[in-house]
Structures are given as C-alpha cells and as structure tokens.
C-alpha cells in the first residue's frame, strides 16, 4: 500500500478539521474540528513510522493522544463554565472583552 494515499487522506482530514474550526459557531463542534486535525496528524505519524521502519513516530502519536485528552478535559471545562455564565455555547457570544 502506497504511503502517498495515507498521507493525502491525512492532509484532507486535516483541511476539513481546519475548515470546521473556521466555519462552525458552536464551540463544541469547533473543538471536534481540533480533534479531527489532531487525528489527521496521528495518521501521518503512523504512516511515516512505517515508511521509515522506526517506532518513534508511533510514540509521538501516542503523546499527541495523551495531550489531546488533557486538552479536551480543560477545553470542555471552559465551555461548561462559559455556558453557565452566558447560557450559550456559541463562540460569537463570548465578547466580554469587546470595548
């Protein structure tokens, strides 16, 4: 199986994730876009680990997963806190710093 296919799939998924972050308004869906981008990079890591015959790529993908889990915990806690004070999960409603 060619490496190129996996790498193209990873870049397409990454681009879709980035577009989700740019376009969606619901903070939770924006967060899912970030997760999709992280997963796409993981796919690239695993693919290139196999290309080079070196497990270090998989170790890095593992670290990405752990950091992503920590990030999700804190990010969702922030969303819940914002929802409690503002009654909304839309990224447009968080404009407290606006003059």
């Amino acid at each position: 199986m060619e490496v190129t296919n996996y790498a193209v799939l990873a870049s397409v998924l990454f681009a879709i994730g980035a577009t989700t972050v740019l376009l969606r308004r619901n903070a939770i869906v924006v967060f899912m876009g970030v997760e999709l981008m992280l997963n796409a990079t993981n796919l690239a890591f695993v693919t290139f680990a196999r290309l080079h015959g070196d497990l270090t790529g998989q170790v890095l993908a593992f670290f990405v997963m752990v950091v992503a889990a920590a990030e999700v915990v804190v990010g969702l806690a922030i969303i819940v806190t914002i929802f409690r004070t503002r009654r909304s999960a839309s990224v447009d409603d968080v404009n407290l710093l606006k003059g």
Binding site: M1, V3, T4, N5, Y6, A7, V8, L9, A10, S11, V12, L13, F14, A15, I16, G17, A18, T19, T20, L22, L23, R24, R25, I28, V29, M32, G33, E35, L36, N39, N42, V46, R50, L51, H52, G53, D54, L55, T56, Q58, V59, A61, F62, F63, M65, V66, A69, A70, V73, V74, L76, A77, I79, V80, T81, F83, S88, A89, S90, D92
Partner: protein, 253 residues
C-alpha cells in the same frame, strides 16, 4: 509487509467513508450528529492504524478517543443542551466564504505537496515489531522518552485539577434541608399557605380524572383538589354536570 491487496481494499473502502463523515462535521446542523460523525472517523482511523502495523495505537485510539474523549464530548453536549443548534448569522461579513476558501486552499496545498513528493517504498515495521508492537513502543517510551513521559503524567494531573477548579461552584446560600423547609412552611401559615398536601381530585362511579373536584363532607366541591394549572386554564369540570352525566348513563342502561 502485510498483504498489499487486502490493505488497498480496506483503504479504498474506509477512506471515502471517512472523508464523508468528516465533511458531515462541517455540514451537519446538530452537534450530536457531528459527534457521531467524528466517532465514525476515529474508529476507522483505529482500523487503519492496525492495518499499518500499529496495533497498540489502534487499541488506544478506540479506548481513549472514542471511549473517553468522545463520551466526554457527548456528556458536555447533554449538559449544554442537545438542541443548541448553530446560529447561521454571520458576525463577520463574508466569513463563511473566506473560511471555505482558506480550508479548500489548505487542503489543496497539503494534498498537492504530499502527492508530488516521491516516497521510497515503505520499510515496514517487521523488524521493529519483532518483540511485538507494545513492547517495542514501551522500550522507546521508557528509554528515550522517559522524561517526556513523566512530563505528560504531570500534564494529565494538572488538567484534571484544572477541570475540577473550573467547574467547581461555590455554595452561595446555606443548604436547604428538610428541617428548614418544614420551618419555612410553618412560618408561611399565617399567609394562608396549607401545611398539608393539597386534597386529591374526586373519585366518582365512572370518573376519577384529574379535572374532577372532590366533594367535602357537606357535599360541596373542594376547589383546591383540582391542580392549579387546570384551574387557570379553565379545564376543570363542574360537579353538577359530572353527576348529571353519570345519572344519565346509569338510567340509560
């Protein structure tokens, strides 16, 4: 290397479905459906990892991502309200067009660069996975990256603490116990509040619905026995009409 034909078939079955599901993240209106799309993408990725000789990562992907992270997402969605759908008004003019253009451009640039590059044939992980994949990973993880591993442990603990602190709510008023509620009810007695529960609706020979008032010992209807909401809506039935219809039914037989 694994059997190339089987892997190619797996890839060409999974990849289009994954891209479709990922696009669902972009176009689906409800956040829950977006979460389900993402779950599909993640499970497919796990299958791809296993096909790419990364068995450990495949299992971790299922357990951590679909098992923990996405469930956390769904919990928060339930907390925030499932039908909190997106607003479609643009706060920044032309944002959707620009965002779509940027995303498309990023995708084309990335895919173009990757497709242009000439990769050597994959070396394969046969040698590295000789002691099985998890053991090989563990040797690198606890050999070269032991410091990073410990830093990640600290990060996880800090994140858990952060989530606890962020979602903690301080109690602003004293706790309402059964005793305080009973005392407040007794204190409200002079204002005409009843100490006991309201009387139940009336039960008749052919009728025991919520909208029929009960009769007191003197035979008068008890107003309070019909739920307040029904009384406000004017949906309660009068006792006279009720008894009349019951008698008509009995005499008709």
């Amino acid at each position: 290397m694994t059997a190339t034909g089987g892997e190619a078939a797996l890839f060409w079955v999974l990849a289009p479905l994954m891209v479709l599901a990922a696009l669902g993240l972009l176009f689906v209106r409800r956040a829950v459906h977006a979460a389900m799309c993402l779950v599909f993408v993640m499970v497919s990725l796990a299958i791809m990892y296993i096909a790419q000789e990364a068995a450990f990562l495949g299992v971790v992907q299922v357990v951590v991502y679909t098992g923990a992270v996405m469930m956390l997402f769904l919990f928060v969605l339930m907390l925030v309200g499932v039908d909190a759908s997106d607003s479609l008004t643009e706060t920044i003019k032309g944002q959707r067009g620009i965002g779509l253009l940027l995303g498309l451009g990023l995708g084309i640039v990335l895919a173009g660069v990757v497709a242009q590059a000439a990769f050597p044939p994959a070396a394969g992980l046969g040698l590295a996975n000789e002691v099985t994949n998890p053991v090989g990973l563990a040797r690198i993880l606890f050999g070269d990256y032991v410091l990073a591993m410990e830093a990640v442990g600290v990060l996880l603990v800090t994140a858990a603490m952060g989530a606890l602190v962020l979602t903690h709510r301080r109690r602003l008023e004293p706790r309402r116990t059964q005793r305080t509620m009973a005392e407040s009810r007794v204190r409200a007695l002079p204002r005409g509040v009843s100490l006991t529960p309201q009387p139940t609706p009336g039960v008749y020979a052919l009728n025991n619905a919520m909208d029929t008032p009960a009769l007191d010992p003197a035979g008068e209807p008890v107003e309070a026995s019909v739920p307040r909401v029904l009384r406000i809506r004017g949906q309660q039935r009068s006792v006279g009409a009720l008894l009349e219809s019951e008698r008509a039914t009995v005499e008709g037989e």
